[in-house]
């Protein structure tokens, strides 16, 4: 089993860094990051990660638009997307699910469980 590659898209640098260290340290995945929706689209197409961890609240292009664009692109449509959001209402979860999102993880996330949540959502098994 090859090492999983995760793309973290968030405009907040600290969150990108924390998420990267967290996933790399806890799950041993390979993490690449993007600071905006636009950058995320390019990186996703170029890097073809196994999953994308996408922030919702971003200036210029928010997470949902980025998601739509990822879905619109056949090169990225197959990559599962997990939302990272402050909005955690049930209605939102439902909407995200309808849109084709694999999961939505609430901020602030638990650094030790983040990888587990992603793996659970995508049906991966974690190897220590």
């Amino acid at each position: 089993m090859t090492t999983k590659r995760i793309l973290v898209v968030d405009n907040e640098q600290y969150i990108r860094e924390v998420a990267q260290i967290c996933l790399e340290t806890v799950a041993g995945w390979q993490v690449i990051t993007a600071g905006s929706g636009g950058e995320g689209l390019i990186t996703a197409q170029a890097e073809q990660p196994d999953a994308i961890l996408l922030d919702v609240m971003m200036p210029d292009m928010d997470g949902l638009t980025t998601f739509e664009k990822l879905q619109a692109n056949s090169a990225t449509r197959h990559i599962p997307v997990i939302l990272l959001t402050a909005k955690v209402q049930a209605a939102d979860h439902l909407r995200y699910a309808e849109l084709g999102m694999m999961a939505a993880i609430a901020k602030p996330f638990n650094p030790l469980q983040l990888a587990e949540q992603i793996a659970a959502a995508l049906g991966w098994s974690l190897e220590k």
């Binding site: 405009n11 907040e12 640098q13 600290y14 969150i15 860094e17 924390v18 998420a19 260290i21 967290c22 340290t25 806890v26 600071g35 905006s36 609240m57 971003m58 200036p59 210029d60 402050a86 909005k87 901020k107 602030p108 996330f109 638990n110 650094p111 030790l112 983040l114």
Partner: protein
């Protein structure tokens, strides 16, 4: 003016006396009809105020009686009866006017004056005599313009004269008219009053207004316009007229004498001619003097004396006769001169002026000489005497009966029937009391004796001297009046006595019959003899025995006191004894005792019986056993008392019920008023309510709608009333389902509960909708649902606010979670021990945690700060400061950061006096500088300058950074609206800095904006007002 008030009510009588006296009337009061009648009989009044309901003789009867006796005095009926019928009866009975009690004083006075005018000589409301005026309505007397202050009596006196301006009033006539009869003083009083009146008039300028007619009395002096000479002239003209009328007749009479002279000279004087001549001479002697031919009268008298003598031709008597007749002819041929006595002249003048005086009395004059009759008429009429003349004694009786005179004047010598014969006949007739005065030319003792012998009262000699005749007639009439009233009283007394005597005589002759009657009477009859010791009973009829239970022989011989017992009232006994001692009649009710000891109530009536000589003969006692009556009376009284108590109780109950009702009525009225007020208030409240309000009936039709509802829905109130509620409901609900009766807006009508809906749409008339929140409540009446009321409000604005709030919370939530996520993540990893804090990654995580924590703290501070500034919870502490100082201080704060970024900070301080919160303005400046520094490239300059614009200062913070897109220039001052959030340099920013700056500047009354060119840099401006006066130096707080 004298007024008689006949009124039994003492209070009203006193009131009338007081008010009428105040108007200077002399007032007398009679307390009943009979007393009124007696006063009118005896005294003269100008007006009678007559009550209708009177004891003894009622007002209507008295009125009829007065009128039937020819009394012409005005009568004013005063009564409480106000019906037209009563008035008609009063007026038909002879009253002149009618006044209903309670009367108005002013009206009373006016009516009194009107009636007095009617009866008096003048119809003028204001009495005038030359420059003198008397106003009866105000009781004011003025001469020219001077007010003449008079006493009450002086005023009355003057009014009397003015009302009877041509009459002479004797002192007694004045007394009678001006003083009340019970207060009449001596004639001296009249003179005193006249004197006072004259004095006052003289002071006012009206001298000699009242003239003394010597020997008779006083009168108003004729006006200046009728001065003596003019007056004289008038009189003479008048006299000449009279004279001219009678001159042919007198000439004829003298011609008869001349015939006699001719006959004597021829010795052919027949007895017939002699008698005729003597008759004519007699007549002439009587009349000529009166006409002013005093000498002629004397000549005629001499001729009359000569005629019975032998008048042979050539005799000395014949010669004298001839001479006298010649002289008489000469005398009558000349014009009459001022031989007429003064008073006579005036009297004639008065007739000519025709004073309309009331008739005082009727005088009948019988004289065969028409001249005398004419003279008497002219003399007497001015005195208020009605003169009936008769020149033929044969028609005496019919004339007497027709005229019913108060006084008779007879000539002695008349053809067919002499005056003496007439007088005797009158004395023997039913006219026996009529005063008779003789007019005679002869005043010898024989004639005078004969005058009185035939029963005459007085005589006046010819020629007639006016004043003498008038005085005698008036004196006679006044005496007659007095005598008549006395005589009436006496006649009554005599009549009574005669009746008594007759009754006694009858009693004697019918003794037996009476004794039988007395014996069978049911009342007890007792006779006692006061002439015997202890006034014993000398007779008792069987009824006494029956009442008292004693045998007759047990009664006779005893004093009546034997019937008394322990409970007999000693006071009543004393009263009876007292009356008996005083020989008076007594009535009493006494408790007596029968022989068997049974008490009985004895009603006693004891009368003294006198002999013709006045000696006390007996006492007659009539006694009636009234025990039964007493008992009945007592029972009746008790019943009456009980009844009265019950009536009083019932009345009290009624009063209290009435009061309660009144209270209830008052309460109800108050409640109604309160309700009305409340209803008005409710209407006002409903109209003023900002929320829409709709009343629905059971069918969902609008029965009521307030202006706010109509306004919200874009209809008029009238357009909505009666419409179905569907008119305002959405065509479909927000979930696209159609409305049914099951919906909440109807539910209240159905289930009677309250329904609240917070998200609904209502439709306006223009087919637009608006979000509403509504509540539907049932309206119940006596438990039944009769409708519902829907209150609603437009929640558009609220929804906007709520949306903004949601967004803000969402943003804040995101902004807070961002640093928290970093902190939680980094610290969580470190804490797990998976990373060593000493390692590179561990170190980086710590830095992230610290940085994020700082950011979180700033963020929280800024959020709290802007909230407090915008909600006014933070006060701006104003103080005076110089703009330059603020600029320098801000620059100093930012200097180190600028250096850190490798930037140059350029400050050009500008001085301006500001009244601001110093720290907040520095905060604003540092904030702007901080932004400029953050977004500038290394080596660039950031400028802080200012511009004094007079009333404000303009601060500028300029950088050469990358610039702000035009679309963002507005939004950057809103919360969390950073130009580029992904910019790494923005990490320290909270997104609230410019929003805080804007709040601070706005709180100081200034503006903030930005200008920018992309790639070239930005300039941030803000203004602050410059403090204009030292007043602003005082530290004040604002911002709330």
């Amino acid at each position: 003016m004298r007024i008689l008030v006949v009124e039994d009510d003492d209070f009203i009588a006193k009131a009338l006396t007081a008010v009428l006296s105040s108007q200077h009337y002399a007032v007398e009061v009679a307390a009943d009809g009979q007393a009124g009648w007696e006063l009118v009989e005896s005294f003269a009044y100008d007006l009678i105020l007559l009550d209708v309901m009177l004891p003894k003789l009622d007002g209507i009867s008295l009125c009829r009686r007065l009128r039937s006796h020819g009394l012409k005095t005005p009568i004013l009926l005063l009564t409480g009866r106000d019906s037209s019928h009563d008035k008609a009866i009063g007026l038909d009975a002879g009253a002149d006017d009618y006044l209903v009690k309670p009367f108005d004083q002013e009206e009373l006075f006016a009516r009194v004056r009107a009636l007095l005018r009617r009866g008096g000589s003048t119809s003028q409301p204001i009495l005038k005599w030359g420059n003198l005026q008397l106003d009866p309505s105000s009781c004011e007397v003025t001469y020219e313009t001077h007010l003449v202050q008079l006493t009450s009596k002086e005023y009355s006196l003057l009014e009397l004269f003015l009302r009877n301006s041509r009459r002479v009033f004797s002192c007694s006539a004045i007394l009678e008219r001006i003083w009340s009869f019970d207060k009449i003083p001596g004639e001296e009083a009249v003179r005193t009053q006249i004197k006072g009146l004259r004095q006052k008039l003289k002071t006012a300028g009206a001298a000699d207004l009242i003239e003394t007619v010597y020997g008779i009395g006083y009168r108003l002096k004729p006006l200046e316009a009728h001065t003596a000479s003019q007056h004289q002239q008038q009189t003479l003209t008048a006299l000449t007229g009279v004279w001219e009328r009678f001159k042919p007749r007198i000439s004829e009479q003298v011609a008869v004498l001349e015939q006699a002279v001719a006959a004597i000279s021829k010795n052919t004087l027949t007895q017939e001619l002699r008698a005729k001549a003597e008759q004519e001479a007699h007549t002439l002697a009587g009349s000529l003097g009166t006409f002013g031919f005093g000498e002629g009268s004397a000549i005629a008298k001499k001729i009359e004396h000569l005629l019975p003598a032998e008048l042979a031709a050539g005799t000395k008597e014949a010669k004298q006769f001839h001479k006298l007749v010649t002289a008489l002819r000469q005398e009558i041929e000349r014009t009459p001169d001022g031989l007429v006595p003064a008073a006579n002249t005036n009297a004639v003048a008065q007739v000519l002026q025709r004073a309309d005086t009331g008739v005082e009395a009727v005088v009948m004059v019988v004289d065969d000489d028409p001249q005398i009759l004419a003279i008497l008429r002219t003399l007497l009429e001015p005195w208020g005497l009605k003169v009936i003349t008769l020149d033929d004694p044969r028609r005496f009786w019919e004339k007497l009966a027709a005229s019913a005179p108060d006084l008779l004047i007879l000539d002695i010598k008349m053809p067919h029937l002499s005056g003496f014969e007439l007088c005797q006949l009158v004395r023997d007739s039913r006219w026996g009391g009529l005063p008779v005065l003789f007019l005679t030319a002869q005043t010898d003792a024989d004639t005078v004796n004969q005058v009185f012998a035939v029963g005459a009262d007085d005589y006046v000699s010819k020629p007639i001297v006016g004043p003498e005749l008038v005085t005698r007639i008036i004196n006679r009439l006044e005496r007659i009046k007095l005598l008549r009233s006395l005589a009436q009283t006496e006649l009554l007394t005599v009549g009574d006595r005669q009746w008594h005597e007759a009754a006694l005589k009858q009693a004697v002759t019918e003794n037996l019959r009476l004794a039988r009657a007395v014996a069978s009477a049911s009342d007890g009859v007792l006779i006692t003899d006061p002439n015997q010791p202890d006034n014993p009973i000398i007779y008792a009829n069987p009824a006494v025995s029956q009442i008292a239970g004693y045998q007759p022989d047990e009664i006779v011989g005893k004093n009546c006191r034997f019937l008394q017992g322990p409970d007999t009232d000693p006071q009543t006994v004393a009263k009876i004894r007292c009356c008996i001692a005083e020989r008076r009649e007594v009535k009493a009710t006494l408790l007596n005792y029968r022989k068997d000891g049974q008490p009985f109530w004895n009603e006693l009536k004891i009368s003294p019986v006198f002999s013709n000589e006045g000696a006390l003969l007996y006492f007659v006692g009539i006694q009636t056993d009234i025990t039964e009556r007493k008992r009945a009376e007592s029972a009746l009284r008790q019943a009456k008392d009980e009844l009265e108590i019950r009536v009083a109780e019932r009345t009290a109950e009624l009063i209290s019920v009435n009061e309660r009702l009144q209270l209830e009525l008052d309460e109800r009225k108050r409640t109604e008023l309160a309700l009305e007020r409340l209803s008005r208030q409710n209407q006002l409240i409903l109209n003023s309510v900002g929320e829409g309000l709709c009343g629905l009936d059971l069918q969902g039709k609008i029965t009521f709608v307030n202006p706010a509802a109509a306004n919200l829905l874009g209809y008029s109130v009238a357009e909505l009333i009666g419409q179905s509620i569907y008119i305002i409901l959405p065509h479909a609900k927000s979930d696209n389902t159609p409305y049914t009766l099951a919906d909440p807006i109807y539910a209240s009508l159905r289930d009677g509960t309250i329904h609240q809906v917070t998200n609904e749409l209502f439709w306006r008339q223009n087919n637009t909708s608006f979000p509403v929140e509504y509540v539907s409540r049932p309206i119940r009446e006596a438990g039944e649902i009769v409708g519902s009321v829907v209150t609603f409000k437009d929640i558009t604005e609220r929804q906007v606010v709520e949306r903004m709030k949601d967004e803000f919370i969402s943003v804040v939530s995101h902004e807070l979670r961002t640093p928290l996520t970093s902190i939680h993540g980094s610290l969580g990893l470190l804490a797990s021990g998976l990373l060593k804090p000493g390692g590179d990654r561990g170190q980086r995580l710590l830095e992230i945690a610290v940085d994020s924590t700082e950011r979180l703290v700033r963020l929280i501070n800024d959020i709290l700060d802007i909230e407090r500034i915008e909600s006014g919870k933070v006060k701006m502490v104003q103080q005076t400061c110089d703009a330059a100082d603020l600029m320098i201080e801000a620059a100093e704060v930012m200097q180190s950061i600028a250096e850190q970024y490798g930037l140059n900070l350029s400050v050009t301080p500008v001085s301006a006096r500001l009244l601001v919160d110093r720290d907040r303005i520095i905060q604003t400046l540092t904030n702007l500088l901080s932004n400029a520094i953050k977004f500038s490239s290394q080596g660039n300059t950031v400028w802080l300058t200012a511009q004094n614009q007079g009333d404000q200062i303009l601060f500028q913070v300029k950088d050469r950074g990358r610039g702000i897109p035009a679309v963002k220039l507005e939004t950057i001052f809103e919360r969390f609206q950073q130009v580029d959030a992904s910019d790494s340099r923005n990490h320290e920013g909270t997104g609230l800095g410019l929003a805080i700056c804007r709040s601070i500047v706005q709180q100081h009354g200034g503006c903030i904006w930005a200008e920018s060119t992309l790639g070239e840099g930005s300039i941030f401006y803000f203004t602050l007002p410059i403090s204009q006066s030292s007043k602003d130096d005082n530290q004040t707080n604002f911002g709330s």
